[in-house]
Amino acid sequence: MLVFFFILFGAMAIGCALAVVAQRNPLYSAISLIGVFISLACLYVMLAAPFIAAVQVIVYAGAIMVLVVFVIMLLNVEEEERRRPRLRFLVPAAIALAGVLIAEAAFILVSVQESRVVPTSSTSDVGLTQSIGSALFTQYLLPFEITSILLLMAIVGAMTLARRGALLPGRDQSKRSD
C-alpha cells in the first residue's frame, strides 16, 4: 500500500516538476510548482513527519507561492518568446550535466543500498510537533536565533529593494523615471 502511494505521489511530483520546466507561461509553472509541493507534503506524511508536511503546505504552497503569483501578476509577464539563437549550446550542456548528476546520484544510491537500514516504525515520536519544538528550543537554539536574524534582514532588504525611489539621499533620484 505504501509502495502504491509512493509511486503515485512520486510520479505526481516528477510530472509537475517537468511541467514547471516545460511551461512557457510563468503562471502555469507556478501552478505546477504548487503541485510539486503538495505531492511532497504527502510524501512527508508517509515518512512520519506530519509537522513538516503541514508547514510545507502552509509556508510553501501558501505563503511563498502566493508571493510568486502576486509578482507574476504585478509584472504582467507574457509568455516567453521563442528562443533566440545565442547561447544555444547551453541546452546540450544542461542535458549532459543532468546526466552527470543522475550518474552521481545513482552511485550514491548503490552505496546506500548496500548498507542495511531498518525501515521506520510509525510508533516513534520523531516528527511530532512536540519533539521538533523541544529540540528547536534547547539543542538547536543558535540556528533558530540566526534564522530570526536572517528573516529580519530579509524584511529590511525586501523593503529597501521594492521601494519606489531611493532610500539613500542624492542617489537615483534623477535616473528613475517612474
Binding site: 509512493f6 516538476a17 510563468p26 513538516i52 550535466l97 520523531v126 521538533i132 530579509a154 521594492a162 537615483d172
Partner: protein
C-alpha cells in the same frame, strides 16, 4: 514491501536534476526562481527521508530552517526581480548582465 530509503533519495535526485536543468535552460527570472525552489524542496525531501529512516529529529529541524531561508530568499529575490523589471522593462536574464541597476 515498504518504500526503501534509496527510493526517496532517487526521487529527490530526479527532482533536483530537473530543477538544475530548469535553472540552466530557462530565460525568465521568475521561472529560474521557481526552479531554485524546486531544488530546495528536493533537498528537503532528502532531509526528511534520512530523519525518518534514522529516527533522528535533526533532519526535520533543518528542513524547517531551510524553509525559513527559502521564505527569506523569496522576499528578497522577488524584490530584486521587481527592481530589475522597473529598470529594464524585461525579465530576461541576458538583459541583466551587469550589477548596476
Amino acid at each position: 514491501m515498504e518504500p526503501q530509503l534509496s527510493w526517496y533519495l532517487a526521487l529527490s535526485a530526479v527532482l533536483f536534476t530537473i530543477g538544475m536543468a530548469g535553472v540552466i535552460i530557462k530565460r525568465n527570472v521568475i521561472a529560474m526562481f521557481m526552479c531554485i525552489e524546486l531544488m530546495l524542496n528536493s533537498v528537503n525531501l532528502t532531509f526528511v527521508a534520512f530523519a525518518s529512516f534514522f529516527q533522528d529529529v535533526t533532519g526535520q529541524l533543518f528542513v524547517f530552517i531551510v524553509m525559513t531561508v527559502a521564505a527569506a530568499e523569496a522576499a528578497v529575490g522577488l524584490g530584486i526581480i521587481i527592481a530589475i523589471f522597473r529598470n529594464r522593462e524585461t525579465l530576461d536574464v541576458d538583459e541583466a548582465s551587469i550589477l548596476k541597476l
